[in-house]
Symmetry: C2
Subunit: 230 residues, 2 copies
Amino acid sequence: MTEEPARATHVSLAAVFQVRAGGLQTLLWRRAEAPYEGDWALPGGYLAAYETLEASIRRHLTHKVDVGEVAHLEQLTTISEPGRHPAEWQLATAYLGLVASDVDPAVPSDTGWHPVESLPPLAFDHREIVLAARERLRAKLSYTNIGFALAPPEFTLSELRDLYVAALGHEVTATNLQRVLVRRGVLEPTGTRRESGPVGGRPPALFQFKRPELEVTDQFAVLRPPEASS
Amino acid sequence: MTEEPARATHVSLAAVFQVRAGGLQTLLWRRAEAPYEGDWALPGGYLAAYETLEASIRRHLTHKVDVGEVAHLEQLTTISEPGRHPAEWQLATAYLGLVASDVDPAVPSDTGWHPVESLPPLAFDHREIVLAARERLRAKLSYTNIGFALAPPEFTLSELRDLYVAALGHEVTATNLQRVLVRRGVLEPTGTRRESGPVGGRPPALFQFKRPELEVTDQFAVLRPPEASS
DNA sequence: CGAGGTTTACGCTTATAAGACGAAAACCCG
DNA sequence: CGGGTTTTCGTCTTATAAGCGTAAACCTCG
């Protein structure tokens, strides 16, 4: 029995976040065709033959933003509700993308940044995807070094705190942020300090993330194994 | 421009775990056809037209195990490497399934349980999927109440500890396990105690999980917001 | 019926991590 | 040089987890 299996179309989508104007914003483009003509949508598009999902989302992102500016990209989930597209049977694999706050990539005229706090009407199930992506980001800020993808190469603790505040949506004290990140070994001072600005005040020390690859802090593994004694 | 997008085949797969004989084991079946004829493989199969991925994996699991015994099922990731199937362009969405330790579901003759510690040669990329699923399980044991899906409705602390030991692969002290889980409010004593067995010893108290739905402990959100003062 | 063995339960102590707070440091401006 | 501002650092308090020892509750066997 060699029946032909059913084949759905498949798209890759990405919720690309950047902290702008003190808030978390996501990249959207305005659809010019039905369905959902005129609504805003996530960047993405059809998977090409023999193409990897990650290659696909990178290819489609290229049309909306310089993909070199996307500091982090990870798969979230695959959505398969048959009614998610009104006209065809289409699966969607959602990605989370992050852009550092010190760049302002050029985007086409149909594309722009929108605060996640006040999203316009979105096409398909894209609103749910954006909110799920934000939850993933918030969770990972706690137990990984994913903050490196939101921050410039060098930054002061106040600037980093502002990024965390924007992404997490609640206050963060710079003191504790420093201790937590330094203890985990993901943050280190560069040794230099910024020339003080026009407002005065003590010139802040500059910090950087030690490694620009995603790392999970295993410190949150409660019931962890007993220390291997030397 | 209304080009036809490319369409891959799509399968759902599940790494179904159960603690058996003191170790974590996964459900495998032996392939009778090429490719990978004779190798062991994860349960799963083609996605049917207009079928949800979760419905698909449940349908395929039915052929290998009583799906009613699967206490937890969650999506892991979607794999799209074009070379993962030697003959066709096939995507795969992997699931993690858990079966409580007090049941022994009937399985077909081509299907059996295998210790994750010593897997036989597996077809396709199924070995990686099993190991990734185990990592997900281990992580979630620390910050969710997912243990309910591995444990019987009622259990002693020693039994629960044995389940955690088997799943985590390292020692766990019953004292700390109890304190951690009770503090999080996921575990509660039933009030009854088990009649003592033939070995003697103090009869243990019986416990149960409060809620059989997956819950995430937000306690691991470091840098959490300041307490809302009343 | 009591001693010894076994398993569970519980409380005390120690270690570590996080949050709160205030003082000191380092700069600007007038 | 004094006042204002921002950063930095240390300390105190609280919360959580781990280690450990002892008590409790049951069995069996002599």
